[in-house]
Every structure is written in structure tokens, then in C-alpha cells.
């Protein structure tokens, strides 16, 4: 499955170019950030009400801004200084921006990975079966895929969330459980609906790639040979077709993680996320105070960009290394 040549190709393209290294370092730091968010955070990200004495939001450390506050029944102007207590300031409901930034990485990565797994779990079997059996089954499945393509992913996702609701489910936070952090939320909210929905709207890409692979593999000599020995279709699909179509599926999956992170952020921005800890939701919240307190929207946006870039860089690397037919784009 993963031959020696593939391994050496992976190594060579990795060592030759700077970009995959940047991607890997970025992704690992974001993973680290997400995993140890409770340890790294300075405040409970959901706790509101961190305001200055005057009742204003903190700007990032080293910055100041002037705002109007109501004091003693009068409206007066005050200049607010950043504080080391809230290094990146607080948002418009008085939550610590830095701590929320860390927790936002969890939502992005979790939805990205789980959503992609969901899409793979639906798309790959459908595509393999369609491509391998061909004929009516193929026609039928591919017409369904056509219908899915005609829905903009975002619009379909919105419609589906409209039906299923958007409630998250909670799992206990292992880091807090292990006693590594105190005063942090006890559980991680996983936006289950969003995860299922992004899987439901992106499986079709996997189905198309898997189908293409199965179509060509079923005509390979070794498959014909296996068939002539009396191997069942099931065996051939699992033993020959699936392993040999893995390469493009892995490459596609990597790129889809990036696509899904963006999709999740968009849904959250539109207010359909299920958890307020999402970066996209935070950007939406900051939109109202964009002119006066731009830091609220800025930081989570940078988080999304970095997460997506890191995944894209690794995707480019995998594609260059695993599929020599494609010229390297990222180099």
C-alpha cells in the first residue's frame, strides 16, 4: 500500500521544499494549542464580565483606545489601557480573547477532522461501489452525486441545520479531568449537527474520486486475475480496489480538512454553529464593534487562516509526493 518509493518520495519532497516544513510546524503548534488549551488559557473562555474599572473592554496589551462609558448616570469618555491580565484584550461581552482563541482551535480541528471522516465514510464506499459495478448502480449513484453538486455546500448545510437544529453534545475535557488545569470548563462542546452536516455536503467529492479510481482499477490485470481465481466482488473491492485507490483519497482528505474548517467557520459566522467557542462565531460577534474594537474579530480570523494554510501546505506536499502526475503547485 505504502511502498518504499512512496516513502522516499515523501521524504525527498519534504526535505527539498520549505513549505511542507512550515505546514507541519504550524499544524503541530495548532494541535498542541488545541489539546492543551485549558493549561495554556489564562481565563475560563466562557466567563463573561472581564471589564476594566470603567466598565470598558480591555484592548490588547500595549494598546489603548478611547471609548464612551456610562458612569454615575452620565456618559463620559475614557481612555482604556491594555492589561497584562488580558494580553489580547477582551471581547464585547467581556470574555478573554486569548483564552477563546485557544479553545477555538479545538472546534476548528475537531469539526475539520470529524467532518472529513464522515465524508470519507459516506463517499468512499459509494464511489467504489459505483465505479466497480458500473452500469445502473453507477448511473444512479452518480445522478445523486450530480444533485448534491447543484446545491452550494453552504446552502445545503444551512438548510440541513435548519431541520436538525444545532445543539452540540458535550464530552468531558480530559485535560481538566487529569487535574492539569483549574477553573476551566469541565467539558468540550462538540457541534455534532455541524459535523454531520459538513460530512453530508462534502461526501460527493470523495465519491467522485473513489469512483474514478475504481473504474480504472477494475480493468487492471491483477483484478482480472483475482476474478478468474473466483474471488468474490466483496473480496476484490476490499483487497484490491480499496487499497489501490487510497492515495488520491488521502490527498483529497487532507485538502478537504481545510475546506471543512472554512465551511464550519462560515456556518458559525452565520450563527449556525452550536457552540460559541468557534472562531467563526467570534468573528461575527466582533463585527458589531469592528470600528472601535477590531481585535475581537482579527485574532480568530488569523487563527482560521493559519489552520487552513497549514493543512493546505501538507495537502500540497502529499499531492506532490504521492501523485507525480501533478506538477507541484506549492513550490
Amino acid at each position: 500500500m505504502i511502498s518504499k518509493r512512496v516513502k522516499s518520495n515523501l521524504k525527498q519532497t519534504f526535505s527539498e521544499s520549505l513549505l511542507p516544513k512550515i505546514g507541519l510546524v504550524l499544524l503541530l503548534s495548532i494541535l498542541f494549542m488545541a489539546m492543551f488549551a485549558p493549561v495554556l488559557a489564562t481565563h475560563d473562555p466562557t466567563r463573561t464580565g472581564h471589564y476594566t474599572e470603567e466598565g470598558a473592554e480591555y484592548p490588547p496589551l500595549g494598546h489603548e483606545y478611547t471609548t464612551q462609558v456610562a458612569a454615575d448616570g452620565e456618559i463620559g469618555e475614557v481612555t482604556v489601557q491594555g492589561s497584562s491580565e488580558h494580553v489580547l484584550g477582551t471581547n464585547n461581552v467581556g470574555q478573554d480573547v486569548y483564552s477563546r482563541f485557544l479553545y477555538g482551535a479545538r472546534v476548528s480541528l475537531l469539526v475539520g477532522l470529524l467532518g472529513t471522516s464522515m465524508a470519507v465514510a459516506i463517499g468512499v464506499p459509494v464511489g467504489l461501489v459505483a465505479g466497480y459495478y458500473g452500469g445502473r448502480i453507477d448511473d444512479g449513484l452518480m445522478r445523486i452525486a450530480d444533485v448534491m453538486l447543484a446545491f452550494p455546500a453552504l446552502v445545503l448545510a444551512l438548510a440541513l441545520i435548519g431541520v436538525f437544529g444545532e445543539s452540540p453534545f458535550y464530552v468531558p475535557d480530559p485535560i481538566v479531568r487529569a487535574g492539569l488545569a483549574e477553573g476551566m470548563p469541565e467539558s468540550i462542546p462538540i457541534p455534532g449537527t455541524v459535523t454531520i452536516v459538513v460530512g453530508l455536503v462534502t461526501w460527493v467529492w470523495f465519491a467522485r474520486v473513489a469512483r474514478g479510481e475504481a473504474l480504472s482499477i477494475r480493468n487492471e490485470e491483477y483484478v482480472k486475475a483475482a476474478r478468474s481465481f473466483g474471488a468474490s466482488n466483496r473480496t476484490i473491492l476490499l483487497k484490491h480496489v480499496l487499497p489501490n485507490s487510497l492515495t488520491p483519497i488521502i490527498v483529497l482528505a487532507t485538502i478537504q480538512v481545510a475546506v471543512i474548517i472554512l465551511l464550519e467557520a462560515s456556518l458559525a459566522y452565520l450563527g449556525f454553529s452550536g457552540t460559541t467557542l468557534s472562531w467563526g462565531y467570534e468573528i461575527e460577534r466582533g463585527q458589531d464593534v469592528l470600528r472601535t474594537r477590531p481585535w475581537v474579530s482579527m485574532l480568530p480570523g488569523i487563527g482560521i487562516v493559519l489552520a487552513v494554510i497549514s493543512v493546505n501546505l501538507l495537502g500540497d506536499w502529499l499531492r506532490d509526493a504521492l501523485d507525480p502526475n501533478i506538477e507541484g503547485e506549492g513550490r
Binding site: 452518480m142 445522478r143 445523486i144 450530480d146 444533485v147 453538486l149 447543484a150 446545491f151 452550494p152 455546500a153 453552504l154 446552502v155 444551512l158 438548510a159 440541513l160 435548519g162 431541520v163 437544529g165 467529492w205 467522485r208 474520486v209 474514478g212 473504474l215 480504472s216 482499477i217 480493468n219 487492471e220 488520491p248 490527498v251 483529497l252 485538502i255 481545510a258 472554512l262 467557520a265 462560515s266 459566522y269 452565520l270 467563526g280 468573528i283 461575527e284 463585527q287 469592528l290 470600528r291 474579530s297 480568530p300 480570523g301 482560521i304 487562516v305 487552513v308 494554510i309 493546505n312 501546505l313 501523485d323 502526475n325 501533478i326 506538477e327 507541484g328 503547485e329 506549492g330 513550490r331
Partner: protein
């Protein structure tokens, strides 16, 4: 059995279009249109299904809070909500076929009118974004491919990496903040005039000032929506062109003395763009999704904004109308693209 794959576009042409080979262009189009009709039917059906399983009684959504039970019952009866589900489905389908999308639950207006009045703004935005993308991306891709591993190539690569990795709502907000608020170059409010009225003013009074206003207001949304596509087309153009430049016919064209301009554009770029065209056809969905977001960020009075309103209010007839319109647009554009592809690539239509 290696085939060219394109993961960025997430599509491999030959797997999907492979079996269209061996057909004449006419048959090809007929088949494509029939498939399109099927796709639209599928979209309509899925929307109906979603509405059927969605929680909440439509009659309640249609009426003001505190309506009497009798009134609710009356509305249910009038709207056919008491009929069996399949009767409702066929009524609904029948309406769709003759272009009757029903009435908005929220405002009680005809859905067709509510969709049609919002189409121009969205088309203006989509076209402007596409123009931005094409005008920037193709030269960038060409420069990148012809000057590989030089600073301009690295620059283009970095730009396209950022472009496909930046969420467009955040990009829009940052553009508003930096170019609109801080630099004061562009207005940031809701636009006062559409393209149609602006042209009308120009025709009637000869004053282009409305056109300028329109341009000022559309600039940031168009950049916001266009950036992802600019980045995508740059990447596709670069990799496609690098691929194409390595082909033997390029050397052969050079060997016969053809000027570099012709080799590069008439042969290589043209052949690069043919497959990209199909890829872009499939990205119309992404463009529409992007339009929804961009319209929300800029309060742009198009279909996307209306869709979000409809979603918030659970106004199903309006939602259905907009989604079906988007599907029709997607299908028609892709039929045109496929026909163009078959026309430009002689190997498809008459092998």
C-alpha cells in the same frame, strides 16, 4: 492507467465526462439537458423532504403569535397541510413546473417576485467577482508558470495560498476595516443604487456619477468574493500551464519557428484553460455559497441575504424558491460550459 487528477478542483474530468466521449455534440447536449432536469427535480424533492421533516407547524409560522386555534386550522386547510404528504408533494411539484413557487410565509408576497427582484444584485456581484478573478488570476498564473522558481513565482504562490486559505467573511471585514474605515477609500454602508438604475440615469441624464457610486460600492464585495477564485484559478493556471509546457508539441512548435507569444498563448494557455473551464463550472456552487456570505457581510441586497433572512424565519417557500433558482442557474451554466468544452476540445465531441 494513470490519469491527471486535480484535487484543488476536486474533480477528475475523465471520470465524470469519460462516457460522454463517442457522442455527437447534439446527442451530448440533449443528454446533458435531460440530466439537468433530473438534477433540478432532485433538488426540489430534497427541499420538499427537508421541509416535511422539519419541526414546527407551518401554520404557526405564517400567523402572528397568539392566533386562535380556529384560525390555525383554517390556514392549514387552505394551504393543503391536512392533505396526505404525497398529495402535498405533487401539488408542490405541479406548482414548481408552472413556475408557481407559492407565497412567502413571512411577508405573504409571491416567492417568484421576491426571488426575481434580488437576482440582479447577486448577478452583478458574481460577475464582478468573476471578472476580478479572471483579470488577475490568468496573468498571475502565466507569469508564475513561465518564470518558475523566481521571485514572481513565489509571490504568486504565496498569494494563492493565502487566497484559498482565508475565509471570505473575515477578508470582507478586514477590507471594510482597513480600506473602508481606516483609509476611507470605499464606502461601507448599504449601496444606494444598483447597476440597472445607474445605467438608466446615465442614459437619461448623461451623468455617470451613479455608475461611479455603483463601482465604489461593489469594489470591496467583488474583491471579497473574488479572492478565493483568483487564488484557485491562479493555482490551476500555473499547474496546468507547467504541465502543458512540458508537452512535446510545445518543443515542436518552437522547432518550426513559431513566435513565443503564439506558442505561449495560442497553444499552451488555450489548452490549459479548456479543462479549467469545466472545473470552474463546477465551482459555481462555491461561488453562490460565497455570495451568501459576502452579501451578509456587506449587507448587499441580493439573493444570499434574502436566503439568510428566509432561513432565520424558517420561511420554507422562500428558501425553496431561492435554492431551486440557484440549482437552475448551476445546471444551466454547467450545460453551457460542457458545450463549450466539447466545442473547444475536438477530442470529446467526435472521437
Amino acid at each position: 492507467m494513470k490519469r491527471k487528477r486535480d484535487y484543488q478542483a476536486l474533480d477528475s474530468l475523465d471520470t465524470v465526462y469519460g462516457y460522454y466521449i463517442q457522442m455527437t455534440l447534439g446527442k451530448f447536449l440533449v443528454r446533458r439537458i435531460l440530466q439537468g432536469v433530473f438534477v433540478i427535480w432532485g433538488v426540489i424533492t430534497i427541499m420538499f423532504g427537508l421541509r416535511a421533516v422539519s419541526p414546527g407547524d407551518p401554520a404557526n409560522l405564517m400567523l402572528a403569535e397568539g392566533a386562535t386555534q380556529a384560525l390555525v386550522e383554517q390556514v392549514r386547510e387552505e394551504e393543503g397541510l391536512n392533505e396526505p404528504i404525497y398529495v402535498q408533494y405533487f401539488d408542490y411539484l405541479q406548482g414548481m413546473v408552472v413556475g408557481d413557487f407559492g407565497y412567502s410565509w413571512q411577508s405573504n408576497r409571491e416567492v417568484e417576485a421576491m426571488v426575481i427582484e434580488r437576482i440582479p444584485a447577486t448577478i452583478e456581484l458574481a460577475v464582478a467577482a468573476t471578472i476580478v478573478a479572471i483579470v488577475i488570476a490568468i496573468p498571475l498564473g502565466v507569469i508564475s508558470a513561465t518564470r518558475r522558481n523566481q521571485p514572481s513565482d513565489y509571490g504568486a504562490t504565496l498569494f494563492s495560498l493565502l487566497g484559498i486559505s482565508t475565509p471570505n467573511f473575515w477578508l470582507g471585514l478586514m477590507l471594510i476595516l482597513i480600506l473602508g474605515v481606516w483609509a476611507g477609500l470605499f464606502p461601507t454602508g448599504r449601496r444606494p443604487v444598483g447597476f440597472g438604475p445607474a445605467v438608466l440615469t446615465l442614459a437619461q441624464t448623461g451623468s455617470p456619477s451613479d455608475i461611479f457610486t455603483w463601482l465604489k460600492y461593489i469594489a470591496l464585495p467583488a474583491i471579497t468574493l473574488g479572492t478565493y477564485f483568483t487564488a484557485l484559478i491562479t493555482r490551476l493556471t500555473r499547474s496546468g500551464m507547467v504541465d502543458e509546457l512540458g508537452k512535446p508539441y510545445v518543443t515542436a512548435s518552437q522547432a518550426k519557428g513559431l513566435p513565443a507569444v503564439l506558442v505561449r498563448y495560442k497553444h499552451v494557455l488555450r489548452n490549459t484553460m479548456i479543462p479549467i473551464l469545466t472545473v470552474l463550472g463546477l465551482q459555481i456552487g462555491t461561488l453562490m455559497g460565497g455570495a451568501v456570505i459576502t452579501e451578509t457581510v456587506f449587507n448587499w441586497p441580493g439573493l444570499g441575504l434574502r436566503l439568510i433572512d428566509a432561513l432565520d424565519a424558517r420561511d420554507w417557500p422562500l428558501m425553496q424558491g431561492i435554492v431551486v433558482f440557484i440549482a437552475i442557474a448551476f445546471v444551466s451554466i454547467n450545460i453551457v460550459v460542457d458545450a463549450l468544452y466539447a466545442y473547444l476540445n475536438p477530442q470529446v465531441s467526435d472521437e
